[in-house]
């Protein structure tokens, strides 16, 4: 079947290197952001979230940075592993309580 990763910007990363995935969001009133990971043939899986009153949040091997001034969100993956190969996309929540999703970035880990 056709992959969700087609037509997406692709980041190729050497195994063991750090990855940085970027997302520009549209609504300055958004107060909550999520990063999802979607592996081929699977549904999106929650990675990490951040509220607008924070500018950084760390998880296991992942860090999310929020720059509200330029409406930019990034996901940093430390020591990238083959299992990190997937499509990553951000989502923002604004006043209507719905999530608006970015189109995503394909990450390919080179062993």
């Amino acid at each position: 079947g056709e992959s969700v990763g087609l037509h997406l910007p692709t980041l190729s990363v050497q195994e063991g290197d750090n990855s940085i995935i970027n997302c520009a969001y549209s609504n300055s009133a958004s107060d909550y952001f999520i990063w999802y990971k979607q592996e081929s043939g699977k549904g999106p899986q929650f990675i990490i979230d951040i509220r607008s009153n924070m500018d950084k949040r760390q998880g296991q091997r992942v860090t999310v940075l929020l720059n509200k001034t330029v409406k930019h969100l990034s996901l940093q993956i430390a020591a990238t592993q083959p299992g990190d190969s997937a499509v990553y996309f951000c989502a923002e929540k604004s006043g209507n309580n719905r999530l608006a999703f970015g189109k995503g970035n394909q990450v390919v880990v080179i062993p």
């Binding site: 992959s3 969700v4 043939g41 549904g43 929650f46 996309f89 999530l99 999703f101 189109k103």
Partner: protein, 112 residues
């Protein structure tokens, strides 16, 4: 572990057929969502429901309807399938006070 399940992983239907996509969640979530996902377009919201028997149109409701008779089950209906409805369909659940949505594995529907 939270769980959202979808009735089929792959489905092939003919143009004009009535299609039911079923979604069940075991998280006791009030809110449930149906999205379609197409290459280059990302996730687009079709319909959502914030309670039993309640439904709201999303961004692309045309050609679809939904049913929420029980809290745990949210069905997406294609009254008369068309080839432009070939897509990956994703269901999600969310608690009333929460923001994170939990997704099912998806149903890849092909309409021929």
């Amino acid at each position: 572990d939270v769980k959202v399940t979808q009735s089929s992983r792959y489905l092939v239907k003919r143009t004009g057929e009535k299609v039911f996509l079923e979604c069940v969640q075991d998280m006791d979530h009030e809110n449930m969502f149906w999205y379609r996902q197409d290459p280059g377009l990302g996730l687009r919201l079709i319909y959502f429901s914030y309670d039993v028997k309640m439904k709201e149109k999303g961004d692309i409701p045309e050609g679809y309807s939904v049913s929420r008779e029980k809290k745990e089950r949210f069905s997406l209906i294609l009254e008369s399938a068309s080839t432009n409805q070939t897509s990956m369909y994703l269901c999600a659940g969310r608690s009333r006070g929460g923001a994170e949505q939990y997704f099912g594995p998806g149903t890849r529907l092909t309409v021929t």
